[in-house]
Subunit: 331 residues, 2 copies
């Protein structure tokens, strides 16, 4: 295993030290493994928290800051944070207007966020929850009943973060979050497996001439394996299932071409060029985009495509200022 770490047990703890040292806009509660904004949001505004297993950086800690999350809970690698972490984050960020929990659809995350929401409610904090389940690859999976939650989470945190920042109330924020979740679709592929530090070896074997289509962000199995094809064919295998699942014509679309952690940017640019050609042919109008590493799977090589069928309000909120380690514009 070739990794820049001290020991497999210390990866998350050590990485959070670096997160705090690199971003003056956040503070880390190292005991509870929670990343907070250094400057708390104004009282009376809805607060947003998310969280999940580590290994998907910059998600979620890198999305804490003005215009996105108020706090993010870090679990061990590919392991849900605990209800206690989520409760602590929820009660700390609440400014009296309630808290939205943004949850990716994995059994552990769902269960723990649910418990945290109940405990927070007992403590007098109003909590709403949105569940992201946007991966069109498979119906059920290793850690999930129903679709896995992947790339749409990033877009949702940006759009809904902007709505909370401008003072929309919890009902509106929740409705918007659900609209984004309902209108986002993703599909991924891998050239190589990731290696979980504690395991010390690749999660799965993928022969030198094979790729896996429909991979999950924890290395969960996808749809099938096949010989490595050219970028044009791979783009088609990402675009087609997404367009088959939802009509993306007749609306402005936000597209994200995401690297899985070990994919160089030159390849992501190249893939985006192929994807956009297919979308143009299909009459899909991409108005905003991201190309880069936004929701990763440790050192997996590969990429995923996320499309969000947006509307004027979503585009307006997308363009609103954001200042986080992972996304930054307009400020």
């Amino acid at each position: 295993m070739k990794k820049l770490i001290n020991s497999p047990d210390d990866v998350v703890r050590n990485a959070l030290k670096g997160v705090e040292a690199s971003d003056p806009e956040v503070r880390v509660d190292h005991d509870n493994r929670i990343v907070y904004r250094a400057q708390k949001k104004d009282q009376g505004k809805v607060a947003l928290i998310s969280g999940g297993g580590s290994g998907h950086e910059p998600m979620h800690g890198g999305y804490v800051g003005l215009g996105m999350l108020d706090a993010a809970c870090a679990g061990e690698v590919f392991t849900s944070p605990t209800p206690d972490q989520m409760l602590e984050a929820t009660t700390t960020v609440d400014g009296g207007a309630g808290v939205l929990h943004i949850v990716k659809n994995y059994t552990g995350d769902i269960m723990n966020f649910e418990m945290a929401a109940e405990m927070a409610s007992d403590a007098g904090v109003t909590v709403e929850t949105v569940i992201v389940a946007d991966d069109v690859a498979v119906q059920d999976s290793l850690y999930t009943a129903g679709r896995r939650g992947v790339g749409t989470t990033v877009l949702l945190e940006k759009v809904v973060g902007a709505a909370a920042e401008e003072g929309q109330d919890l009902a509106k924020v929740k409705e918007l979050a659900q609209r984004v979740a309902d209108n986002g679709r993703s599909m991924g592929m891998a050239l190589t497996s990731c290696t979980v530090p504690a395991a010390g070896k690749p999660t799965f074997d993928l022969p030198e001439d094979q790729m896996e289509i429909g991979i999950g962000i924890h290395g969960e199995p996808g749809r099938h394996r096949e010989p490595i094809a050219d970028a044009k064919s791979i783009a088609k295998q990402l675009v087609d299932p997404i367009l088959h699942d939802l009509d993306f014509t007749g609306a402005p679309v936000i597209a994200m071409l995401n690297g899985m952690g070990a994919t160089p940017l030159i390849e992501l640019y190249l893939m985006y060029g192929e994807v956009i050609e297919l979308l143009n042919e299909a009459g899909v109008r991409v108005e905003r985009n991201l190309v880069g590493n936004y929701i990763t799977s440790l050192d997996m090589a590969g990429c995923s495509l996320t499309l969000l069928r947006a509307d004027d309000e979503i585009i307006r909120l997308w363009d609103a200022p954001v200042r986080t380690a992972g996304l930054r514009w307009g400020l």
Copy 2:
């Protein structure tokens, strides 16, 4: 070879298509492989161009835009662009106040930029040149007489780009560029080799339990190989040679912890945490930082550290607004 490409011959051409599709702020001259700003800088301001072999994305095309470069010339992978490309870029961006060529110290780049500068001068454009040679790892190298030019280039393009944007004249811009080049130092390491698409196999063999200290951004040999150590020891092997080469105390410092292309962000954060601890112990005051993939080497896993001994003006220019694919803030 596992890569998201169509064919080894088309990598740069295809990737430039994606660059243009993803960034509304740039235009690509596909015949000449030049990335330009979509909106040209005001007449009367100094223009900045850079360029070099592809494979180091987001450098240089990703640094074209307001507050940084006016144009970037893309060569084939790890191959210098031609004097004709550089001449075309130079004459196109000149707004009457002259053009600064930002050149990394590699024999091919130096030679071709020199020829382009002469031809541009014959065509009536005043050109100044700054050469970046900041890699403390080795004195001479495979493609270089003298030190290789690496990470300081990114910081220089940002700082000097801001000076040109605010209207400083060519003499001042050149003096500032030289000051940045003189005060930047870098040191890198690799866990794995990169694979040049046209070669189809790793540039060098690095056994599963070994790492290379002092690696170049084209996979040029470093100082030595040794068994993979923990992040703390690796951080020391990056920090020590840099601090030995230049005194970084008593001035504000800009630090960049850079990924080589296949290094996940969780490891870069972790390494940054270790680096900053060592710098604190050494009395070095880091006032600004970057952690991420800024000057890569295709799919190499590893990282590099760059430190810039700044001053008040350099910090002020660092904080000035920038809007490029690779760096974006304040706008």
